[in-house]
Symmetry: C2
Subunit: 363 residues, 2 copies
DNA sequence: AAAAAAAATGTAAACGGTTACATTTTCATA
DNA sequence: TATGAAAATGTAACCGTTTACATTTTTTTT
């Protein structure tokens, strides 16, 4: 198999009998090179199939023009839209993007961080895996002054820049909505409370119960991973409760959908017997029956904001050091899975006039 | 903001008073370096926070150890599992992976190809976008002898190595199953017939109709993109048919789910009025009601096989030149959305004894 | 203890760009 | 036409590795 030799600026220079410096400058469109020379160089470069050697350039320039992103999984609408948002901004700004996913494993997250560190990304965006224990693997970035922005699953210790929604409030809203629908025994299915997204939603859940005078019952808290089998187990656990709960706030739409299916298979009526609210506003919400009420978590905005802040920092505009927490708008979307009675529209409308917090999807 | 100076092998060498050659060799674990020297070097490298400069190394080695993958979208179970399969193999083999997605746009696909080409990936894996017109943008890879493997959405012109399922057979099986359920007027909703996945499924559909003596009716073919709005339109088109069709073979699970929802909203009973079969076996299949029959398209296998062949080729084991088409096993999964009568189990069992083609999921 | 072989280390030239600084060419002006 | 400034181009060092080849050190053999 013949290996074609790569064309370099040396080849172009000697073919045109000029210096490599001029070729280099021309290819970067340096205004100092004359129009005619530039044209000759561009034409020949095209003809010879020249391509920049990024390694030589980066080696010399000491920067990579690359942003890394570590996500905890790939297969959710939420993460996909975060990626879309990040990509939009990085592409516009002329940065390359390397996507790594940890599949919810701490070990893989460490490996990814190490890899991106060695690849010398100029900046990093990350969401923590399910079982991440600490942030030691991000220390090397800080030591080398490589900016890191966390989103969604973050450690809110005040030391890091994070892009999040108000999980506290969202949990409160979801729970409050169920209470307003008449629920008094509300299950909360969530994931590891070590991840602060989940602990804050849990806090919102408890606060809402408290504000409405409903005692918190720890038997109604189900902590689980976000797998299908775990979701089925959670549903089974609900079925064993006596009396049955009348509401469920579930921290993930997919889990909510599986729980709902399992409950329905066991002749539970949704929302009549148990009203449900999920989280994220994934595509499945409107495909399951009844359509799933949820918290809209706009991934694209999260991605755009995270990337924009990172890049501004890199370009010297704005400074991440001063910006610790960026909160993205989120909102409750009410669908049939949580509507126990018909008078809901009136109720909600009155409420909205006061708070303007939730969004109704009629029909 | 102080820029920490990077540690290089020069720093290590001069600190230990040895040559950079020895340091370089030690860091690569070259057996020619003595144990003690190696230990000293590793210890110091760790202490000083040394990290390999990939640019210098790649510049010198003239290879990147990187595989690129271009996918037509990110948010489907299928693509996600392909990525998982690819990643498993590339990681094991010590290759890095750059993921690019074209969002179904030809222009973005070209941009991605160009980018990965300039990044000098050692090999490329790709699935074509919805409206890709030609493969010119992959020519540069061929010219430089960079191997390219296509999967899923491919151009089967015999010139490229492709990893696919037998779409022809799958389309046949799906349609045959509907016919065996008693369907005689079967709609086929699909995407651009220029993409050969879809044209082959369509061929399978027509062949099955023919074999069972059902004339093909072009009014029952609905070509659309794979968006939610397009799916709703397709459902509306079905509703306008008189008489209504009694079966639908839809080339994508998400689209099938949306169509099913829209039909149900219009009081069509699934499967009694219209039996449905989707394609891919995405997670939604078991979340919608009734559960969606589908063709199981094992993305993880596709990804693994594509990556394995590519890497073997790069390592000189096996040769892609000789391997044009690799076919991955796929199979029909029967669920409630396509079961018109109760005697199905008997029917299917008899059929399976003969052909062993389909897999029943009871319950 | 000398000679030969093996092991360990060192020297220096790539790899392909970028850019400070130096030099040459072009051109307006005196 | 000589002069100087501006424009265009050239020279060469540098970025941090790898590795063929050369040299030194250690070990084995006689």
């Amino acid at each position: 198999m013949p290996q074609h030799k790569e064309v370099t600026i040396y080849d172009i220079a000697s073919a045109l009998n000029i210096s490599i410096a001029t070729v280099s400058r021309a290819l970067k469109n340096d205004p100092v090179v004359s129009k005619q020379t530039k044209k000759k160089i561009f034409d020949l470069a095209g003809k010879m199939g020249y391509r920049t050697n990024h390694f030589a350039r980066n080696l010399r320039n000491q920067k990579t023009n690359t942003i890394g992103i570590i996500v905890h999984e790939l297969n959710s609408n939420f993460i996909t839209s975060v990626l879309a948002g990040v990509e939009k901004v990085t592409t516009e700004a002329g940065y390359d993007l390397i996507i790594a996913h940890s599949s919810e494993s701490f070990a893989k997250e460490i490996a990814n961080a190490k890899n991106l560190f060695h690849k010398r990304v100029d900046g990093l965006i990350a969401s923590l895996s399910f079982d991440t224990k600490n942030l030691d693997h991000f220390e090397p970035f800080k030591e080398k002054n490589v900016p890191v922005v966390f989103f969604d699953r973050v450690e809110q210790d005040g030391k890091n820049t994070v892009v999040v929604i108000d999980n506290d409030k969202s949990g409160y809203q979801a729970t409050e909505h169920l209470i307003q629908q008449g629920c008094r025994k509300i299950v909360h299915i969530t994931s590891s409370l070590k991840r602060n997204v989940y602990s804050k939603r849990f806090k919102g859940y408890k606060d809402a119960l408290f504000d409405y005078g409903i005692p918190y019952d720890e038997n109604l808290l189900i902590v689980n991973d976000l797998s299908e089998s775990a979701a089925i187990e959670s549903a089974m656990q609900i079925l064993k409760m006596d009396p049955l709960p009348d509401g469920a706030f579930i921290t993930n739409d997919f889990v909510a959908a599986v729980v709902m299916r399992t409950l329905k298979e066991n002749n539970i009526k949704i929302p009549a017997d148990i009203a449900m609210v999920g989280f994220n506003n994934d595509a499945i919400c409107t495909l399951v029956e009844p359509a799933l009420s949820t918290i809209n978590y706009p991934g694209i905005d999260v991605g755009e904001v995270a990337a924009r802040n990172l890049i501004n920092h890199l370009k010297g505009i704005g400074n991440l050091q001063n910006t610790n927490t960026i909160i993205i708008r989120s909102n409750l979307i009410i669908r049939k899975s949580s509507l126990k009675n018909d008078s809901f529209e009136k109720n909600i409308k009155i409420k909205n006039q006061k708070k303007n917090l939730s969004k109704i999807e009629s029909k």
